[in-house]
Amino acid sequence: MTEPKTISMQGAICPLPLVHNEKIVMGHGSGGKMSQDLIARWFMPPFDNPALRAGDDAGVVQATPRTRLAVSTDSHVVWPLFFPGGDIGRLAVCGTVNDVAMMGANPLYLTAGFILEEGLELSILERVVSSMRSAAEEAGIQIISGDTKVVQKGKADLLYINTSGVGLVPEGVQISGSLAQPGDVIILSGPIGNHGIAVLAARGDLGFQAEVQSDVAPLNHLVAAMLKASNPADPLASIHTLRDPTRGGLATSLNEIARQSAVCIAVEEASIHVNPAVAAACEMLGFDPLYIANEGRMIAVVGPVAAQPVLESMHSTRYGEDARIIGHVEAAPAGRVLMRTVLGSTRVVDTLSSELLPRIC
């Protein structure tokens, strides 16, 4: 061994901060903090209005004195187009249906815009469209308008789909990310991480295989059943917040709710269900399932009196069979998500920082 060198603290310095504010980088599409910064800085100020400012999955507007509409839009660039448990078509329908349903609204109609790359096989388009039709039938919605554009080869990756959706918010129902209150109970509709891991495995470029199916599914029937089991007129027995933890995963969605409602969300690590195959893939690849995307899961924040009836109503539906209570809402520290670990210690759960897995939806 060579003589040790006395350390000079002159070396103990770091580089200047790097703020990506000149060009878009992949992290801006992660669904985490960089995406939130992008929206807050570049989209919110020019488009500012109350519905947008609410920062929910869909904008809610009073269309007539008795009618409230929930409107949402979502673009889909997932790669590969087909993966175990779903495809870009099913995803495009479910993504928007779910965003509308997360306002407690009953989704009715969708529009679909297709960006097609020169050279795309029409048999692929046929499969995608047929899958969209099945998903629309399952959700009980209609696709009533559409658009197609074709771009030169190399200017898109086979096929991108944008869908927009509209739904009616039932009278009296008030659901928003900003309505979680201390004392509320947090319910998670099923195991997390399936979609992200299924897509990643389907890519094959990490040389790993997993017996994991994407959870992509329309959640509007589940939401309808939950609303039936609750009482919108009673703050202790109503549903306050619904959110589907897509990009950025459960951790990011819980942080959004904690921030929007200015509350602390306290969850139990042991109660968060992760399928063994997803857990194993995450261990191998160094991912935390809390940050992996879901496309058919939902977080519900409900008044304490509603917790049990809502949970039971979820158990009786197809996409809520595995629903569990994972925690509750506290007053402080506001804006934080705290997790009691399996060992009994407590740690902070933060928002996803930047790119984890690109193009998973």
């Binding site: 061994m1 060579t2 003589e3 040790p4 060198k5 006395t6 350390i7 000079s8 603290m9 002159q10 070396g11 103990a12 310095i13 770091c14 580089p15 200047l16 901060p17 790097l18 703020v19 990506h20 060009k23 878009i24 980088v25 992949m26 992290g27 903090k33 960089m34 910064d37 470029d205 990490l206 040389g207 063994p276 857990a279 194993a280 261990e283 690849l285 160094g286 705290l338 670990t341 399996v342 060992l343 009994g344 210690s345 407590t346 740690r347 902070v348 933060d350 920082s353 930047s354």
Partner: protein, 359 residues
Amino acid sequence: MKYLNEFRDARLVSNAMAEIRSATTRPWVLMEICGGQTHAIKRYGLDQLLPAEIELVHGPGCPVCVTSLELIDKALAIAELPHVIFTSYGDMLRVPGTGKDLFTVRAAGGDVRVVYSPLDAVKIALQNPDRQVVFFAIGFETTAPANAMSVLQAKSLGITNFSLLVSHVRVPPAMHAILGSPENRVQGFLAAGHVCTVMGYWEYSAIAERYHVPITVTGFEPLDISQGILMTVRQLESGTYTVENGYPRLVTFNGNRSAQAVINQIFRSCDRKWRGIGMIPDSGWCLKPEFQDYDAELRFQVDQIQPEESPLCIAGQILQGIKKPHQCLAFGEECSPEHPLGATMVSSEGACSAYFKYG
């Protein structure tokens, strides 16, 4: 999962913590070498379960954090070249060089790809014979065998458009540097289990002997870390300073001899500059002269680089265990995982990112 769940068992960890409490009679400062251990400690809140007398400080075992700014700037310059496909582990893409990172280079049109293994980079070279494929070979002893294998594979396949930008570092010289510093506070070490899986732990006896510090080879799960702390504290309390193996299910005294043979075939020992610490003699590995054809630093002339560091960040003191992340004025303010001032905040093994993420 078998071999994981047992080592996260709440009851067993709680028993180990009780043993640590009963073994501890006065304050001790322990350093865990590896960033993977730091993250497990914060993720499972192990520091909250320890008696107040035990202070854990976080070591330099995060390869992303200690890769020198000069080398990152070289990587950026090479990645910008039009005929180059630059491949790297994902973490390196966000480490800021002077004014930019690999994400910036990619957004500007550079072909930067994330791979999970250097052998994937060799495959990319095979598929793109008209392009130069460079792999950013960072890491400690743990990643060295696979990186060495990539050179052997490229050679045996006759691939000439593949090269490594080597930034390999070794743990024992860093331990010498930390213990030899006048500011040193570390009284005992949790050695990095994965490094020892490859290298064994015979090298550590000289360190324990010379500086009178107990060293325990330690794994990465909560029970492994609790066990490592317990074994180290017992030695400190009884005044002994030997090397013990707390990770026997994977680590042997001699380590993985065939992995070492591959390393020795490709690499030679060399001086290496550590980010935040400075030059440590004989602390790195470089390609041997007979494999210089695979050295990206020689293949691409990118010498006119003048790296510029900022005075705000204290990553260097953190990497040496002199300070904790929250003692940095910039922590959580100017410096966060999205806007990192230093590599310790960027890397998934970095101490600052562990503090930021898990509170």
